[in-house]
């Protein structure tokens, strides 16, 4: 059974139809690339999955459970973590605090015990701090753990966003253009992290990406959107050479008349 199944997803803002009957299914442990020109509706799919948008029609099922229409925190608590195109980190907070915030749903809430910082709170903070340190080591951000994220270069901020999603101990990852704005070295690091997640953690991912070389090299399957519709889906080598896909990206030559 597929981990995440989307069927007939339709989203419109007034008269603007953003998604028109998109269906896809991501299997366990799969690195699933979602590509398409700007404005094709890729991020809108993420916003529907994480509950920020309410689709007009269609269903989203995670591990067999219908999650369409649930509020965003409840979806996150089911283990679906995401990153944002522009990072969206908490700039005034340190890397550690950003990642600890990612673990919010994994911690028990007890405001009164927290006000007194009872031993139970201290123990929990230490345990989660250790887990955060493992993520920091995974993405190699040790040098910056105490730095306010707002002061870090853009590439590192993106990496922090990725780390914050990992700190949530996700069962499913939604990565929104993790490589945008990264330089070549940072992209290579990112590719390495993606492969490590796939092989060591086995977390399935939907990965929005514009770097076609990375998609061709890493993705298990590729799904192509254009104007809110699916135009191709399948293994990378076949999809990326599909004339419809090339046409969507580069435009089709006018038919000779």
């Amino acid at each position: 059974m597929a981990e995440l199944e989307i069927e007939g997803l339709t989203l419109a803002f007034g008269g603007l139809r953003v998604l028109e009957g998109v269906s896809l299914a991501v299997d366990a442990g799969e690195l699933f690339a979602l590509i398409g020109p700007n404005g094709a509706g890729k991020t809108s799919i993420f916003n529907c999955i994480s509950g920020l948008y309410r689709p007009q029609a269609g269903s989203i099922r995670f591990r067999g459970e219908e999650i369409t229409g649930l509020p965003p925190p409840e979806i996150a608590r089911r283990g679906i973590a995401r990153t944002f195109q522009h990072g969206e980190l908490f700039g005034a907070m340190s890397v550690i605090d950003n990642l600890m915030t990612g673990r919010h749903a994994l911690m028990r809430g007890a405001p009164l015990a927290e006000a007194l910082f009872l031993p139970s709170v201290r123990r929990a903070e230490i345990a989660h701090r250790e887990a955060v340190e493992r993520v920091i080591a995974f993405v190699e951000l040790e040098r910056f753990r105490h730095a306010p994220v707002g002061g870090l270069p853009f590439g590192l901020q993106k990496l922090c966003g990725f780390a914050r999603a990992l700190a949530m101990e996700p069962r499913f990852l939604l990565l929104d253009e993790p490589s945008a704005g990264l330089n070549r070295d940072e992209r290579e690091d990112l590719a390495r992290f993606l492969l490590r997640i796939r092989h060591e953690l086995g977390v399935p991912m939907i990965w929005i990406e514009h770097d076609m070389q990375m998609v061709a090299d890493l993705a298990d399957r590729v799904h192509v959107l254009d104007y809110g519709r699916t135009i191709a889906s399948g293994p990378p080598d076949r999809v990326l050479s599909d004339p419809a896909v090339i046409g969507a990206y580069l435009g089709t030559a006018p038919a000779a008349s």
Partner: protein, 358 residues
Amino acid sequence: MSKPLPHVSGCMRLSYGDEFRLFETRISRLAAFGFAVVLAMLPFVASPFVLDLATQVLLASIGALALMLLTGFAGQVSLGHAGLLAAGAFTTGILFREFALPFWVTVPAAGLVGGLLGLVFGLPSLRLRGLYLAVSTLALHFVVVYLGAEYETRRGFSTGILIDPPRLFGHEIYAPREWYFILLAAALAALWISFNLLRSRSGRAWRAIRANETVAAALGIRVARHKLYAFVITSAMTAVAGALFALYRGFVSIEAFSLYLSIQYVAMIIIGGMGSLAGALLGALFVTLFPYGIEATMAALPGAGRLAGDVFAVNQAAFGVVMILFLVFEPEGLMGIWRRVRDWFVLWPFRARLPGRG
């Protein structure tokens, strides 16, 4: 809040627990000890006037810390602070006058009433933001002030409610020196609680909500619940400050809780520096002492006799000017100035700023 490493060499953390130590270096322990000694000695060397100022600062600190948590960290604007102080003061006054209840009942009761008011008046924050939320919190102020005034006139306490000095462990608290220590303990407790909340799950959720509610929700934070926690906790703290104010003065009158008081509290957190607990304390110190400073300055001017009638007007005008100057030139407030001075010493002799600070 995870603490950055201190600016000294040779300070190493050997366990994650070390990150929670309050004073990590010998110099910070020494400074804290020195400060504690000064605070403890103050009532024995200060004049009664200075001691009264110190107690006022301590009272204001509790309210300023609460408002800093709510506005400076959770990002929820409130103009209902005077209303909450009034609610705490009147709860204490009424419970004493009508039922002659002791300190240990009236003060927690004031906190409870404050928490309930916070819950009710926090509800609009689930829909409203910024200026609109501020206006909705004004309703809290006017409701409490109306109820307080009604009670005063109905019961015939038109000038206010008199409260006898409270008894603690069979001892009557009356001397200013005793009040100073009680309020010092209360202010330190408020600081400790605020600090603890900020370094644990709730504090991180509040800061995330202030930065971006949508992102906070996508991380699994139940935004509505944590906003209400912020309102309930800070309102309870503020109402306790109001109760202590009433007991210290021995007298409650609704006159003391004007809208201007709410604005003074907002001024404290802005002048002190948004998003910093130390800023709340500095702001409380500054705003409480400011009118006395203006008064003293005017008294020292030549022709002081002729100026005496204008002190009130000058005070208000100067307060407004100071607010504008801070908003324009130092949005980070007194804490921003302090950070710059500290960085200058840390980096000396190199003229540069620490990375990550504009």
